[in-house]
Point group: C3
Chain length 154, copies 3
């Protein structure tokens, strides 16, 4: 557990307060040893900080930043699901990333690397995951990226 917190600090990352669900759903559900986390948006300090679409007003660099923020929020949810105890987070199983984009944009993987790289930087080998990256014509609140994740508790 201390190891993960140290890595976060070394990376200069502050784990956010895990965002609450704002309707009749919850941020995550634990079923057996799997944690299904709701789709996370690029929120920072509770505010949506990257909006718009790739191929239009958003650069790949900003898309990567959006994906990193989604990943940080996923990590915050995973930690909460584990009762704050990182040693109970066995691994990240899968990430599915939805990238708001125009019909001409085909670099969804570059954008998702923002999330994948962060997961491996923080969780090490346990952060290597199966991945799905697809485009979307529009996402909630005009978010640039939405990522859902499945973790395994140990």
């Amino acid at each position: 557990m201390g190891e993960i917190e140290t890595r976060l600090k070394d990376l200069g990352l502050d784990l956010p307060v895990p965002p609450l669900a704002v309707a009749n759903y919850v941020p995550f559900v634990v079923a057996g040893d799997l944690v299904f986390v709701s789709g996370q948006l690029p929120l920072e300090g509770g505010k949506l900080v990257v909006t718009g679409k790739l191929g239009d007003t958003v650069t790949v660099e900003d898309g990567v930043r959006a994906a990193r923020l989604c990943a940080l929020n996923l990590l915050a949810q995973a930690k909460a699901a584990a009762g704050g105890d990182w040693t109970r987070v066995r691994r990240l199983v899968r990430l599915t990333g939805h990238i708001a984009c125009t019909a001409a944009f085909t670099d969804q993987p570059k954008v998702m690397n923002g999330a994948s790289d962060l997961m491996v930087a923080v969780l090490g080998e346990a952060g290597r995951h199966a991945r799905v990256a697809v485009g979307a014509p529009a996402l909630p609140l005009d978010a640039t990226v939405e990522i859902e994740g499945i973790f395994q508790l140990g």
Copy 2:
């Protein structure tokens, strides 16, 4: 079990006959205690009753109605997966909703609330779920909403 049936009746809801899959797939697969339900469309009496896109010809109100119908079909599949015995449905784990929309539409969460609210109205606390809501440029048969769900048996 009686409790869920009573709630459905109190809400004036008739659970549909669970739609059959019309190709080489099945409406749901049970793996361990998880039930993976195929994407459900807004079918009523076997007919697709909400078509078209949000931000174009479909209002948020009609989108909500579509999401409710998808949720009813998901419940019908969950009941079938449990052999008709609601006491075996431990909880709803996750819903992923795909909302057919234009690039300008960003109220996917409002549409998905039609499904989320219905699940909690029918299943109570066991209906609170992890959630993903994203846009799609087009869906099968011009459906307005498609929702897939994972339930846990108890």
Copy 3:
């Protein structure tokens, strides 16, 4: 195991070398008895062979071919996850197919049948799966189809 290999041969199908992930993720993750396979593209001999969108430059027939290729790559990953032993692959649980398309295209199910039919042809009853088929405005590398799958080991 021999049975599956015989079916593949009878169908004239060569299982590809399972594609590697090209970033900080992996082709599949095993969690308990579930195998989560990353989104597979229509790769043949390591090359993307079907690009573009349905409703635009790609015919349904070519979409079906793309979905078949995705399915073959999913099978290759499942075999690898089972250590090469088909008797350990209990069943296919779910396929989620993302079909690159215009806003006017609504035959996503016909395209996905390319994958569903192949799965049942190769795996028999164990190949019947829950299914999700949705449109996407654009996919990685301009791929026409991306399909992710969950298998159960036995």
